[in-house]
Every structure is written in C-alpha cells, then in structure tokens.
C-alpha cells in the first residue's frame, strides 16, 4: 500500500457508521449502530496521522495505544488490533459502544483539531472488538495456579475486569452476584439497542473459560458474610464492585404517585426482567405522554425505551442546557432522531396526581449562572416562570448513590461524606486490609471505562498484595 502523507490523510472522508432507520429502531430493540464494514474500518484507519506523541492516548482513561491498534487495522490485522487494545482494556466491543469518546480520546484527536471530524476511534474499537467476538482467538496457555482464591463482589464492569485479570495471573476467582444475571449496569441498565446482551454473554463466557466462577443470587453481608469469605471459605482477598445502586429522587411533592419510576426501576424491568417481551410476566407502565428527568445517558436510554414501548410523546426535562448534558453526543442525536423532545432549562417542582396516578409535572424555567462545583453553569430559577406539562409516566434519571449494600457487605468500612468507599488512590485498597474496591463505589467519573480501568489496577494491586504476603 502506498504510504500517504498527512496532508493526503487529512483529505480522506470520515466514515459514517450505518444506522438503523428510525421506524425499524422503534419497532423493536435492535441495535441502532450497525457497525463499520471492513472497507469502512480500513478507510477510517487511514485517517489516523499516527502522531508520535498521540494526545488521544492521554484522553483515554485506560491508556489504550490508540495509534498502534489503528495502524494494525489499516494493515488488515484485526485480531492483532483487538489484542493490542486488550493489553489495557479487556472489553473493546463494550467500550467501543459506550465510552463518551467525544469527551475522551476523540476530543484530543489532532485531525479533529483541524476542524474535521476526529478519527472514529470508538467506531474502530468497536469494529475490532466485534471482530474478536466473531473470530475468537485461541486462549493463550493457562497460567500456573498461584493457589490463592479471590472473591469479587458484583459482576459489573469493574468486577468482571478484575476477575479476568486475576484469572490470567493464575488466581482462583469467584464472582458473587446479587441478581440472577451477571453484568451489573451493562445488563440491567444499558439497553439492548445500545449494547446488545450477546456481547455481554460472549465476554462472560470468555471469563468462564478462563476459570472464573460466577455465583448468582448471593448478597455478601446477607447470604454470606465477609468473615466467612476470609475464614472457612479461604479467600485471600476481596474486590468490591457493587457500583452505584441507589437511585436519587428529586425530593418533590408527588414523587411517590403511581406512574413515577426511578430510571433504575424502569430500565431494570425492561432490560433485566424483559418487560418489553410478551413471553415475560414483568409488568410495566407504558405511558402515552412520558416525561424523563435528567441529562445523562440513563435519561436518554429511558426516554428511548419509553418510545419503543409505544409512547405518543416523550419529553426530557433537564435543568441545564444542551451544552451541559453529560450524555454521549451520538446518543443525543439518536434520541432526537427518534422523536424525543427536550425541555432544557426546566426544573420539576411538583408532580400532580389524579386519583393516585401521576397526571402532570409542574416546572420552573431556569437560566444559567456562574459555574458550580461540577464546573458546569449553575441553573438559577426564574421567578414566576412556572409551567405545567401533562404526563402519565415520569421517569427520574438524575443519577445514583453508592449501593446501600456496601456497608452491609463490609461492616465498618470507611466511607467519605458522599458515601463513597475510601481507598488508597494507588492500590485501591479500602480501610479493611485485603479488601479492594473500584468502579462507581469509589469517587470519580461514573463511566464503564473508568470502572474497567479500576478493575485492571485493582487486579494488579491484589496480585502484588498476595505475592508480597509470601
């Protein structure tokens, strides 16, 4: 292949990923993004300038060698490209789909800084991740068993990553999951149309092949205690990956009316309990005029499911403006394409009921002031600007606190004022010796990739902790 110079590369068109047309999206749960073809992937890979000091890598929470994997794609070495990613990120098919790349790697891309679309790093990561799912590579020789048993609490992104990394180092790993299916937020939270469950199943299967055991229906602190794990069960270390599992509510009048869901409940009923399928018993309210409160990915996921369940109108109510939305830009676009309306700068003040069922949401118009502690412009209410939205289903999607099971699992564990587990920032060890933690239960950005990065770091610390004991 002729080597192109940078000027030529900059002239190459960005490859748009094919997407399902809106009518087909709304008819089911199929994934919206169809994925790159091989030709598209190679063409997009050509757009990478192969920077000597790549700023994109600095934008990646898990330091993927982005130019290296893209170069391998341009050479047609897709499996090698995936394995290159897997050196620092175990689940490229997942991260390629759910990372907010436009705020991370792609935000720093030099091509993007020229005013052109940045290299589609996320799309390329997804392409090679999917390639590996379709073309599994033989597992490298099994490691020498160390004889150490490690318990992982929670099978979300942090727990699964930790488990996989420790298994590769020869430790005997058991994951304890409270629910009946593994995957944590990737199973109960993220919809099929954004992250197909087959991807999760494939990654779980790969972990089982590494020798990881998954025990469902087990709540540490209730079904088994941490003392039993360390005592008679013979675990030498424990990793806590229970996540943020405690939905925030607005604390306004009418929030306990029928027809008011937390996003966690609405999504769990649909994603985990399959309420969208006729062959499942799970009941769900399908509103006609649905209102979803919040501005993140979970808000969008809820609004899009509401549409797919047959709502006539779905309105997102967000107290800041579009620019402050923490959601992925691509999801915002998909959500708008599908017909969800946005009421920006609007703060719900009260929910009004009709015989116990929610009937309307009273809001206040906001304006943006000085940045607050999150760095985003603070919304300030405009006096006398009340307005009312008729609605028969309200979904509150304004985030979650650390799982209330954490202090039950590990009595006496030190938490900070926000309820997060305090860890040593270098080792991720908690205040209890031999107990480590990562993901949404420690402070930091609440993303899948960050949780996976924590899992990887925790695995290294746990390995060192175990080996140093000898």
């Amino acid at each position: 292949m002729n080597e192109m110079d940078n000027k030529q590369r900059l002239e190459l068109p960005h490859q748009q990923m094919a997407e399902l047309p809106v009518d087909r999206r709304l008819a089911g749960a199929s994934e919206v993004n169809v994925g790159y073809s091989e030709e598209q992937a190679r063409a997009e890979a050509q757009r990478c300038l192969q920077c000597k000091r790549p700023p994109c890598v600095a934008g990646c929470p898990v330091d993927i060698d982005i130019p290296a994997f893209i170069k391998l794609i341009s050479e047609g070495r897709y499996a090698d490209a995936a394995l290159k990613i897997k050196e620092t990120n175990s689940f490229p098919a997942i991260c390629g789909r759910v990372c907010p790349q436009e705020q991370q790697c792609q935000a720093k891309c030099v091509v993007g800084r020229t005013g052109r679309p940045p290299v589609g790093i996320g799309h390329l990561e997804r392409f090679v991740g999917d390639y590996l799912v379709a073309n599994p590579q033989p597992v490298s020789s099994s490691p020498e068993p160390t004889g150490y048993k490690v318990a992982i609490v929670g099978s979300g992104p942090a727990g699964l990553t930790t488990a996989g990394e420790l298994a590769k180092l020869g430790h005997e790993v058991t994951i304890f999951e409270a629910l009946h299916e593994p995957g944590g937020v990737m199973t109960y939270g993220i919809p099929e149309f954004r992250l197909p469950k087959d991807i999760i199943r494939y990654e779980i299967k790969a972990l089982l092949e590494l020798g990881v055991q998954i025990v469902h229906d087990t709540i540490i602190g209730r079904t088994l205690t941490i003392d039993e794990l360390f005592g008679e069960m013979g675990f030498a270390a424990v990793f806590l990956g229970l996540g943020a599992g405690n939905p925030r509510f607005l604390g306004i009048e009418g929030e306990n009316l029928r027809g008011v869901y937390s996003a966690n409940e609405f999504l769990t009923r649909i994603n985990l309990m399959r309420a969208y399928r006729d062959d499942y018993d799970t009941p769900i309210r399908r509103g006609n005029n649905v209102t979803v409160v919040g501005g993140g990915n979970v808000t969008l996921d809820s609004s899009r499911w509401a549409l797919r369940l047959g709502a006539e109108t779905v309105t997102i109510v967000y107290r800041r403006s579009r620019e402050e939305m923490p959601a992925r830009v691509e999801e915002v676009r998909h959500t708008e394409e599908e017909g969800v309306q946005f009421r920006f700068l609007s703060q719900p003040m009260r929910l009004l009921g009709d015989d116990g069922d929610v009937a309307a949401m009273e809001c206040l118009q906001m304006e943006l002031g000085e940045p607050d502690e999150s760095g985003r412009a603070r919304p300030i209410p405009i006096e006398g600007s009340e307005f009312t939205l008729p609605t028969d289903l309200v979904i509150i999607a304004i985030g979650a606190r650390v799982s209330p099971l954490v202090p039950i699992a590990v009595p006496g564990i030190e938490l900070d004022e926000g309820g997060h587990v305090i860890v040593n920032p270098d080792t991720l060890e908690t205040s209890i010796p031999g107990v480590f933690g990562g993901g949404d239960l420690i402070p930091g950005e609440e993303t899948i990739v960050r949780a996976m990065g924590d899992g990887r770091r925790a695995a290294q610390s746990i390995h060192k902790y175990l080996i140093d004991r000898e």
Binding site: A178, L179, H180, Y188, H216, D217, T218, I219, R222, T223, L224, T225, G245, N246, P247, F249, G251, E255, N256, L257, R258, G259, Y261, S262, N264, E265, T268, R269, L272, M273, R274, D279, Y280, D281, T282, P283, R285, G356, A400, S403, P404, L405, I408
Partner: protein, 289 residues
C-alpha cells in the same frame, strides 16, 4: 437452582414450600425475607421466610397463587427446582426485651409471624397472637401459632371460626383490659396494619409493621419499594422491611400497591381478599386522624 423439598397446600390457593437453601437458612433472622423467581419468564417475588431448618438447610415460604409468577412458584413440586432464591433480605426484627409482645397478622401475612413470635419468646416475652382470616377455609399456621404463643386468638371476617370480626377488635379488648404488650408486631394487608397502628397509637405502644410493597431487585437499586416513614422516603428492601407503624404512610403504600392493577398482577396479594373489610379498617385509620 434451588430444590423444593416439600410443597403442601395450606388453604385454598395458599401453598407452603420448603426449599433447599442452606446459606439462607443459616444466616436468616426473624423478620427477613427472600426473593424467588420460579422460571426465566417470571417476576422476582418477595416472600417472607415463614420457617427454617438450619440442620436440614431448608427455608419455608408461604405463597398465595394469585398472579402468573406466584402460580409458577406454587406449582413447583417436591423434587423440582426454583430458578432463583436470594436472601435473607432486609433487616432482622429488633425484638428488644419486651415483657409482653403481641403479633397481629392477617391472611398469608400470618406466616411471617411464626419466627417473629419464636424470637419474642426467645427474648423472654409472654406472647399473644391474634391472627385473622376471611373465612375458616383460609386459616393457616394455627397449630404452629398455638405452639409458640401463650394466648392465641383466631378471627374470621364471616364468623365461620373463632372470633367473628376484625383482628383489631380483640387487640383493642386486650389493651383496654390492661394486659398491655410493650411491643406489637403486625404483618398483613395494608389496611389491617394501618388499623392496628391506630388501635395502639393512643396507648403509645411501640408497634412495628412489616411491609410488603412491590419490589424488583431487593438490593436498594431500583426504589420500587419506597415508602414514606415519618415524612422520609425509605426503601423497604434495605431500610426495612419493618418500620414504626405509627410513622408509616399506609395510604400511600396502599395506593402504590395498585400500580399494576390494570395489568394482571400481584399487587397487594395479601390484601386482595380483604376488600370487603377495607372500609371498616380505614374508618379505624381515620378515627385518630
């Protein structure tokens, strides 16, 4: 997979299942519950743990077959399996050291009381149990309650057995006659628990209600089971299931249980058979305003 070791019909549409779940049996304390999913397509159903045998590694639940998912559980025979059983969930009953304790239960909610009474007895209390049913054919656990209580009063709404009337009536008599308990625990239909709370309120007797709202995960993750207690929102699965009955907003709980009443549903299973006595109970609730 969890093996059902026995399944006995206790009353019309009411079944008692013993389930092999040694870890749950070992860690369970009175007041805690479990969640059962019979098969892949079923709901997760929260159920009180009615009895346990730590040595045999079994727990017993009492299920009223009123919706799809409860029918599926009730239909699993000895030697067959339930797909998921998770627990023990919630906080144990804090019985304290009462000299005299009372349990007031109704319908299948009665089943939850057996181990609570045992715990009260274990704490040295003299115990009275008042258990109410719609009619004679629906009576469950009478023998078990007789064994563990110093005094047992069975009521039926239609007078077909025992005391003819609501459970609150013998409770009121007890309180008036001076044999006052230091602690009252109530489990059953929401209206009954609300009425019990109103009977004990003027006497300032500590009263605990064990709530059974709609629930999904049981780990504090979804908030379906939120209730208002003393003006605060609490999650029954992790903050409860037992709360100060004088602080619980039973009206709201009752309304929230009707969330899926248009669907074929399990809403307020325990209360389903009490609809005709509901007005009487709510009048009691209003009495103390």
């Amino acid at each position: 997979m969890f093996e059902v070791t026995s399944n006995r019909q206790l009353a019309e549409g009411v079944f008692g299942l013993s389930i092999k779940a040694p870890q749950i049996a070992r860690h369970h304390h009175a007041g805690q519950f479990c969640i059962i999913r019979a098969a892949q397509h079923c709901e997760r159903v929260p159920l009180s743990i009615a009895d346990k045998d730590v040595h045999a590694g079994t727990i017993t639940v009492v299920v009223q077959a009123v919706g799809h998912s409860t029918q599926e559980i009730a239909g699993v025979q000895a030697g067959e399996f339930l797909l998921d059983v998770v627990g023990p969930l919630g906080n144990p009953t804090n019985v304290g050291k009462p000299a005299r304790g009372a349990f007031v239960g109704g319908g299948v909610g009665v089943a939850a009381g057996y181990l609570m009474l045992q715990a009260l007895k274990g704490a040295g209390a003299e115990v009275v149990a008042i258990i109410g049913f719609r009619t004679r054919d629906l009576i469950i656990y009478e023998d078990k309650f007789r064994r563990v209580s110093d005094e047992l009063i069975v009521t039926t709404d239609d007078g077909s057995y025992g005391y003819h009337g609501l459970v609150t009536e013998p409770l009121e008599q007890q309180l008036q006659e001076g044999a006052q308990p230091d602690l009252v625990i109530t489990v059953g239909p929401v209206v009954m628990m609300a009425a019990v709370a109103e009977v004990t309120r003027p006497y300032a007797i500590k009263t605990i209600a064990s709530l059974n709202p709609i629930m999904v995960d049981g780990t504090g993750m979804c908030g379906a089971c939120r209730v208002t207690v003393g003006g605060q929102t609490k999650f029954t699965c992790v903050d409860g299931p037992e709360f100060d009955a004088h602080q619980v907003d039973f009206r709201e709980l009752s309304e929230r249980l009707k969330m899926y009443k248009t669907n074929e549903s399990r809403a307020d299973e325990a209360g389903a058979h009490h609809c005709q006595v509901e007005p009487a109970y709510w009048r009691l609730d209003e009495r103390n305003g």
